[in-house]
């Protein structure tokens, strides 16, 4: 097992290198002005050229990439052009904030998803299955940013029950786990949870249906195993895959939080990414993309290793 984990880890190293190259290329080869965030719009071309040289953007690409990579390897993502703050600090904080809503959303999605999935798989083709499957299809089909807008209209503007945006009265730094702050989590997390809910429900439904249709389950029943015993058997066999899907979903939510965070002004990695794109803050942009992508790579690795550990049926080469 350990050998497998080490082998998988080594295997991801070239991927990580490739990911960093793609990040750099995406950000630098794109047309556009890297100093747009610090130069006043009415500055002349002459001043712009002075500043490009001062920031080192007149150097050849391979030199800029080598420098960047060398620093990234030491954990230094550089500093934001616009604010001068270290990118690692900015991204770290933002990822932390996104993890709050993404984790909550994944948990809500997992609880509802497994519930719907189990019900649907267990009572296949009944009206319960139809209802649960409809909820699941809703989850994967609804444009969630639109759902977020609708929820803001209903719960924040019309009813006034929940705050529409932000991370609480003192910003994310003054975060405490009390109602005043937690209520800010609810709308974004609920909106976000519809995707993992749908995907987990569909996965679990298929798993449960497959396990139940296996011949030995019928055998177990014939041997007089109680319905609870069958249920336990199903849970034990479905859990590893469901947990793996949940883990991967967390990675997708983290990488895909940009729409939700734009709607709710949630100070997370998605909002940071949005800012970095529109401000063309290159160090911040490539740092954010890199961290999110590497997080996803590591998460995949962890889920893969965990799944192999939990599920002895999977034989890995």
């Amino acid at each position: 097992m350990l050998a497998y984990a080490i082998k998988r880890t080594l295997f991801t190293l070239p991927i990580m290198l490739g990911v960093s190259l793609v990040c750099f290329a995406l950000v630098h080869l794109a047309p556009g002005d890297p100093l747009v965030s610090v130069l006043p719009p009415d500055a002349s071309q002459a001043i712009k050229e002075q500043m490009m040289a001062l920031y080192g953007f007149d150097r050849p690409y391979h030199e800029q990439f080598a420098r960047w990579l060398a620093r990234v390897a030491q954990g230094d993502l550089g500093t934001s052009i616009r604010t001068g703050r270290p990118v690692s600090l900015e991204v770290g904080k933002a990822v932390g904030n996104t993890l709050m809503i993404a984790t909550l959303a994944t948990l809500i999605g997992f609880v509802l998803g497994t519930l719907f999935g189990f019900v649907a798989g267990y009572f296949r083709d009944s009206w319960l299955d139809k209802a649960a499957s409809a909820a699941a299809v809703f989850g994967v089909s609804v444009p969630h940013y639109w759902l977020g807008m609708i929820l803001v209209i209903i719960f924040a503007v019309q009813l006034g029950w929940l705050p529409p945006t932000g991370a609480g009265p003192g910003g994310s730094e003054a975060w405490v786990w009390d109602w005043v702050h937690v209520q800010h989590l609810i709308l974004p997390a609920v909106t976000m949870s519809v995707i993992p809910m749908g995907i987990i429900a569909r996965t679990v439904r298929a798993l449960v249906a497959e396990i139940l249709s296996q011949e030995f389950v019928a055998g177990l029943r014939a041997k007089g195993l109680s319905e609870f015993g069958v249920f336990r058997h199903v849970v034990k066999n479905a859990a590893p895959t469901a947990l793996a899907v949940m883990g991967i979903q967390l990675g997708y939510l983290l990488g895909g939080s940009i729409l939700i965070e734009t709607v709710f002004s949630w100070p997370g990695s998605g909002l940071l990414l949005n800012d970095a794109i529109f401000q063309r803050d290159l160090p911040l942009l490539q740092g954010t993309i890199l961290v999110l992508a590497l997080f996803f790579v590591v998460l995949n690795l962890a889920v893969d290793v965990m799944q192999t550990t939990l599920d002895p049926r999977i034989q890995r080469a």
Partner: protein
């Protein structure tokens, strides 16, 4: 799912008939397929169906609610007829859902087949490159690519295509690798058949089925992703009537005309849910136990 579908896909003459018969027995899936067909017809015949020009508006009659005289679904922020824009929107939105997936299908299949058939170093280089792109969460990759390329239909198509090439290439590669070692392929090789002939005769038929079904399931994903890009201002440019972009530009009026602003989202939702239900039905219809 990958292996199961690959196994299930057998090129027998009665196969599609069986699939269709099974599909027809699922009323929900058939209903969804009708909706999809309706949307496609709406997109094709948009210029004849739309009561007005989707790009021209009377600025003095802007943001009228649904039910206004002459504008059954109201008018948008430039006074353009909502109904006409939603009808025309089906064109771009379906286009943005389907074209990237099919471009990715062609590119991904080509890469996967070449990698799977050639094996060795070619396989390693191609598939490890795919792994790098696969290492990005899809929304992140789409946003990063669209952000780098800038807004526009062509750029969005490029970005979304790149998002879907790696997963399709993976499926194609695994199926091809499986087929390559079959006896009849070995036999064909031994008899001196060229690589292209073998791919055309023995590989394509086996590979296209599974990845086609897989690609169908990506269309809804792609459409939502494309509309999300437009919503962020990274996709289709104004004044094109794209549903995602309409959500973006109507958003400022959300407090005055919430119903009007919700309409493009309803269209996206209907389209994507119909595609999902239809593909689900198709997939379970194809899941034939031999």
């Amino acid at each position: 799912m990958r292996a199961a579908t690959a196994e299930a896909f057998v090129r027998s003459p009665g196969y599609w008939v069986t699939v269709l018969r099974r599909f027809a027995r699922d009323p929900v899936a058939v209903g969804a397929a009708m909706v999809v067909l309706g949307l496609i017809l709406m997109a094709v015949f948009a210029p004849w169906l739309a009561p007005q020009d989707p790009l021209q508006g009377m600025t003095l009659k802007r943001l009228r609610p649904p039910g206004t005289d002459g504008h059954p679904l109201g008018t948008d922020e430039l006074g353009r007829d909502m109904l006409s824009r939603l009808i025309h929107g089906a064109r771009i939105s379906l286009f943005m859902g389907i074209v990237p997936v099919f471009t990715a299908l062609v590119a991904g299949a080509a890469i996967g087949i070449v990698a799977g058939y050639a094996g060795g170093w070619t396989n390693t280089v191609l598939m490890r490159t795919m792994d790098v792109f696969f290492a990005f969460p899809s929304v992140l990759l789409a946003v990063a690519l669209a952000g780098a390329l800038g807004p526009g239909i062509l750029n969005s198509i490029i970005a979304l295509t790149l998002v879907f090439v790696p997963p399709i290439a993976r499926v194609a590669e695994s199926v091809t690798t499986g087929v390559r070692s079959r006896d009849y392929v070995e036999a064909a090789k031994a008899s001196g058949a060229g690589a292209l002939t073998i791919i055309r005769k023995h590989v394509l038929g086996n590979v296209l089925g599974p990845i086609f079904v897989y690609a169908m399931s990506l269309i809804a994903v792609c459409m939502i992703l494309a509309s999300g890009l437009s919503f962020l201002g990274l996709g289709v440019k104004p004044p094109m009537p794209d549903w995602g972009l309409m959500l973006n530009t109507l958003r400022t009026a959300i407090y005055t005309q919430p119903l009007l602003c919700a309409l493009p989202g309803v269209m996206i939702f209907i389209t994507s849910i119909s595609f999902n239900i239809m593909t689900d039905g198709l997939r379970s219809a194809m899941d034939i136990k031999a």
